[in-house]
Symmetry: C2
Subunit: 289 residues, 2 copies
């Protein structure tokens, strides 16, 4: 039976190269729809410390109305087995293993934050696999301040909360009344699901942190590798991203051969969670035209 929303989608698993990947797959698949244009599955690449539960249902379910959506934990993350590798490039190889295991030959991708870095490396390594790429709150290899958080931002990731998901409020949203209210609505959306994913282990978090730091250190002011990403890219961010500074989104647009940039006001690293309906409208125009 086709599941149309994330909350109806049970966790599934697929095994490849010794890794058991956990994923959720839902929405209307192309062969089931009548009349409408054929659309590729849309695969979401998750951020630092993120699990299946941290994908915003307001985003994923809106896309799922007319295409398949796939959320997954990469190797070593939460309920997936295996080990988080120490580089973004190796994470990309794991992600390719997962996509290949599903038998998919062409996909569209939404990558957020660290997931956007991994998604870029997937598209570089396997250009025929990714048709269009949406990059949210992310930046280029060697970008400004990537994996080198200011102390006050790094500290935000270590705070303990009664409801731990509240950690995302100062990280993903701007310090304004409107943005924080949107953030609380996002947290309410991601905590409603009953069967929760496993948390990310401390060891996995440390490996992700090391991979981010290494990725940020590959400096090349000409960003020559971005010329290899010839696919259409939509770059999205908030006006003041404290995790991967917003200037990196501008740099991506300027150095990628075919990229559109959209920056939202009064928003931070999780701008698409703040404006889910607007983001989905913009992304649909980009993906479907």
């Amino acid at each position: 039976m086709t599941k149309f929303t994330q909350d109806m989608a049970l966790a599934q698993h697929v095994e490849a190269c010794g890794i058991r990947f956990a994923y959720r797959r839902f929405g209307i698949s192309a062969y089931r729809r009548l009349g409408g244009p054929e659309r590729l599955p849309l695969v979401f690449f998750q951020h630092f410390i993120g699990t299946l539960d941290d994908h915003d249902p307001a985003v994923s379910d809106a896309f799922a109305a007319d295409r398949e959506v796939i959320l997954f934990n990469n190797a070593g993350v939460a309920s997936s087995s295996g080990t988080v590798p120490g580089t973004i490039e190796a994470m990309a190889r794991d992600a390719i293993t997962f996509i290949d295991a599903l038998g998919l030959t062409t996909i569209d991708v939404v990558g957020h934050s660290m997931g956007g870095l991994v998604a870029q490396e997937v598209a570089l390594a396997r250009p025929e696999l990714v048709r269009r790429l949406v990059l949210v709150g992310t930046g280029p290899r060697g970008g400004e301040g990537i994996g080198a958080l200011p102390a006050w931002v790094a500290e935000l990731f270590t705070r303990k909360y009664e409801r731990q998901e509240d950690m995302w409020l100062p990280i993903l949203f701007a310090p304004t009344q409107t943005s924080q209210a949107a953030g609380r609505a996002y947290v309410e959306r991601i905590i409603t699901r009953a069967d929760r994913d496993a948390p990310v282990s401390d060891q996995s978090i440390a490996a992700q942190r090391a991979a981010l730091a290494a990725y940020g250190k590959h400096k090349d002011p000409s960003y020559a590798h971005l010329k290899g990403l010839e696919l259409p890219v939509l770059v999205v961010n908030g006006s003041d991203d404290i995790v991967i500074p917003t200037i990196n989104s501008y740099i991506l647009q300027q150095f990628l051969p075919n990229a559109e940039l959209i920056l939202y006001p009064d928003a931070g690293h999780g701008a698409h969670f703040q404006y889910p309906a607007l983001f989905v409208r913009h992304a649909r125009i980009f993906l479907d035209d």
Copy 2:
């Protein structure tokens, strides 16, 4: 009779403060539409050396399908009487005179290039007059390289062509096959109209050039005056604007209190003429939501 497209709209005139302003007003006015939401007139502010004829019908007519569109020559420009003043702020006062003369109390605005500078000053001087503002290929007062064109760009504005409208190809479009092809399509659209507007006099061009140079020299790295523009703003540009460098669009987004930024790939100073359908979709989402 309501005219629905620019080519059906005869030039009209309104006189105020001793100036006879030429304008075209067309599209579906709010009181004539049945059922749809009420929309404000959309007033276009024109670029350096631009006349009524240089507005892209593919843009203006698409908006005119469900709102009124107003194109006008500011004081001293083409078929309007009067003198072009030597500052952007004075041009804004003239534009306000025109809008007041039409009896309009609230409008939406699309300002392109110099028109975007004038539109900002109108919204600063009369905040209640402008509800929403779309700024294309423009920048802030004191922005980077405003009114200080590199010699090779300044030269592009002095070239003579068999078909003079072809001057816009290297100025408004990127030096790529795709962008130049879009540019030629734009030129074909703007030359179809039979009853042509008057050209802009050399004296008026010189005054516009002086106003641009003065506006660019008002340096303030904090762009404090932009805090006074509290209305929602949509900033749009191409990836490489050689007339008002693209970084100015980023600066506008970063310093305005409530601005969204959209940058298009493979495009220059006339990005909205290159992607008229996409631009109108994006601008409609911004204006109508």
